[in-house]
Symmetry: C2
Subunit: 491 residues, 2 copies
């Protein structure tokens, strides 16, 4: 695309931003539900196109479509109930010395947002995905850079959004969808002065390139990049020694779900050496051997999988443990597990590189203190999992504390691959799993990435935004003089 | 200081961080109140030392001491009532397909924080200031780089904090106070891998230097830098033409309060040319002429004031309007007002440079649309003020919308120089007034700068942090299945 086209698109986005600031909140809620309706109304063409472009199976894509619709509707509900506004009011006290003014605070939109979707979720983390939904929920126009892995799918979704925008009477610039042929074009979008924030889901390299562009602007802007991780699983002795075979089965299922193409794929398992591990490794071997290779998102990703897997397996001290017995085609990924000692892991940072696909590295530690050392050495992670008995937890509190400091979500006897869309979900973790550990990209709190607080001092009631007016016309929860209440202000 | 000393200090901070994570919240509340008690108990030596080091008058420093104590106590209350935790719970639904896990989210400490205080608030934004109080409230150990402008004052405060730490049984590393001789030493603190966030109040140059260091780390960390602004005041026609003399008096008082040494000093006034402006300028001239020059924080600041003031006055089209008639000494700052046309302002970005001291530039616009153009051209600001009638507001909604997009706090017929410490205060604005417009450095929400969310999935109740346990032992507000409640979870 030409830069002059980009200028025009962003001029419209800027105009939409001004218009949206003046709309009542209920209009934004209506827009989001209208977009959800449009996506819901899409016929079989959507799923068929996405199947062809992503190799993902129909059931998975149907589920992802439902998830995408739920994201729009649940974020709309969060806007409606006012959670994303964090409205608060401190009333005046003219008798105080000095007089205390009336101060009221709400969250306002940052302005136009650039969204870069992911290859592995053509619906839920792409054109109509969580970043777009949460930015619109925040009141920000969105410019999506279409993912080159599924351009037709993206266009179908973009058209659905645009129909929702038009039917709701929002300006055309509320949403735009652009195709970039080069990294320079994508960078021009992030450098453009109209853009006020960026949402990104993808690789570390891609995310950090955008962070760098954003930091170099005359006015640096926030980049919320979710860049994946290896999602360590700590298999503690009580569990290992009582349920090795059962855990191996569950772990293999989580590891190979969706051909391992989740940012929450549990690609690292840490446990103590011993008879339990031998039993676990044997059971895991049986599971992995029986998993049929399946096509990955595209041939490039399958190639990259084999390359990064071989790189890990080629590191000092790493031995291959299990591999799927059926021969994969060029486009397929074969489940693979390797093993390394705690010592070898501790001295080699390269073993923390994400292998995007159905691959796991087992770190065999000589004792509990080596497990803690491995935990301390880990980079920031989206998730960490403890497979453990309650007794294990009680006796490993120091380890739990270390693990908590490394991740955004900590899981007990469950697996990280499902990322529930709910208020309590945190999807984002310490660097490098995300560029900003203070915000989530899943759940209604994702909206907060695209707002900033604005305080009104001594502002006439009639000109306040509705969420701050005395009568509380929206009927939302507000913090009034440090107390949460839905009551009106009586002056 | 030697780098080996810094390593030792940060080793202790890291150990304190681990210990603090394991403490019950009430211990943190007790610590903060104990520190407030210690500051409260400080004798006249504190004020006398600060008067000598900062040239600030006794009444101002007494007020600032009270404000500082209030910050510690009110942030402690925010910790106690749970606002800074944003605790939420989504309960499990095993019947759903796929089963919905139990997910609970709270805010956890980022880890050790480096704080760089300001020259102009030796108590409230320095060693024992808002950044330190909010970081401790978040559960983070703090390393303060003492401000060279008031080293003895800082040491008295540091000793008070350390006494509070010791009496509360917190580890020594909970708080450290270091003196840096060079910028390199300060940068070594920000680059140190133990440090997880930075709080800064000061100049744009100083703040951006730290941002750059933080961004270059292998794990970039957030820098919350409040870097000042020129705080535009829009004097609209209805007000200008009915209350010029009264407004001139109020404006002169706000502009010269504390010798203009506030980051919220209203250094820019924008209005339409005409008879109203002539009357306003005459009245302002009388006020400014009569203001006695007063000593600035130190000789270097007085020198810098004169230099940056002369630089603005020397710009094309700028004319001197008023200056205090009493001759200032070398160490004093004389109130000064200059004037420039809207056109000359629009073409000269240098006129937006902050002049730290009692200086204002009046921008004389030819009409309402030029006022809007000036507003659109403004850089990000901590505050913006409208001096206006209700009719002015009604007829200037487009201007109001532009001004809102430029600032963190918008004020009606009031002045920005008082920054109320309360939940609804937002002190921080679009770049370059702060490095991160999404967080405040004043009010209890300042705590949120130093936490990140952590989700617990399927976690046993007995091992959950107290704010997430079923029975709600803290009795705080929590979002349970999307509803705010203080109720316990019944399973």
């Amino acid at each position: 695309m030409k830069l002059s086209d980009l200028d025009l698109i962003l001029e419209k986005a800027q105009a939409a931003s001004v218009a949206m600031n003046a709309y009542a909140l209920r209009r934004r809620v209506a827009l989001m539900n209208a977009i959800a309706d449009e996506i819901e109304a899409l016929g079989p063409e959507l799923i068929q196109t996405a199947m062809r472009e992503s190799n993902l199976p129909e059931a998975r894509l149907s589920g992802e479509k439902a998830r995408t619709i739920f994201q729009w509707r649940s974020y709309a509900a969060a806007v409606e109930n006012g959670y994303s506004l964090d409205a608060s009011i401190d009333t005046a006290n003219p008798q105080r010395t000095p007089p205390k003014p009336d101060i009221r605070k709400t969250n306002v939109a940052l302005g136009p947002v650039a969204v870069f979707g992911a290859s592995n979720f053509p619906f839920a983390f792409s054109t109509a995905g969580g970043d777009t939904a949460s930015a619109i929920a925040a009141g920000c126009p969105v410019v999506v850079k279409a993912h080159p892995g599924h351009p037709e799918t993206s266009q179908i979704m973009a058209d659905a959004i645009s129909r929702g925008v038009a039917k709701s009477g929002f300006p055309e610039g509320t949403f735009a969808h652009i195709f970039c042929d080069t990294n320079e074009e994508a960078q021009a979008l992030v450098s453009h002065l109209v853009i006020k924030a960026v949402g990104f889901t993808g690789s570390n390299r891609g995310g950090m390139a955008l962070v760098e562009v954003a930091n170099k602007r005359p006015d640096p802007i926030p980049v919320f990049a979710e860049m994946g991780s290896i999602n360590p699983v700590f298999l503690l002795p009580g569990k290992l020694n009582t349920a090795a075979a059962e855990v191996a089965k569950q772990y293999a299922a989580s590891l190979t779900l969706g051909v391992g193409q989740f940012c929450t794929n549990p690609g690292l398992l840490i446990c103590e050496d011993g008879a339990g591990l031998t039993e676990f490794a044997e059971a895991l071997n049986t599971e992995i051997a029986n998993i049929l290779p399946a096509p990955m998102l595209n041939a490039g990703i399958a190639l990259a999988y084999r390359g990064s897997r071989e790189k890990v397996i080629g590191q000092s001290g790493v031995e291959l443990l299990s591999v799927a017995t059926s021969e994969p085609t060029e486009a397929q990924g074969a489940a693979t597990v390797a093993m390394v000692s705690g010592i070898d892991f501790l001295i080699n940072d390269d073993l923390q590189t994400e292998v995007f696909g159905p691959f796991a590295l087992i770190v065999k530690c000589k004792d509990a203190s080596e497990i803690s050392a491995v935990a301390s050495k880990l980079h920031g992670q989206l998730t960490a999992t403890l497979l453990a008995t309650s007794e294990d937890l009680a006796t490993h509190q120091e380890l739990v504390s270390i693990v908590q400091s490394k991740c955004g979500r900590i899981i007990f006897n469950n697996f990280p691959t499902g990322v529930e869309v709910c208020k309590s979900m945190h999807h984002g973790g310490p660097f490098p799993s995300s560029s900003n550990s203070q915000f989530t990209s899943v759940g209604a709190d994702a909206i907060k990435r695209f707002v900033r607080p604005l305080s009104f001092q001594n502002w006439p009631d009639e000109f306040l935004p509705e969420e701050l007016k005395n009568v509380n016309p929206l009927g939302i929860w507000r913090t009034v003089d440090n107390q949460l209440t839905k009551e009106a202000i009586k002056l």
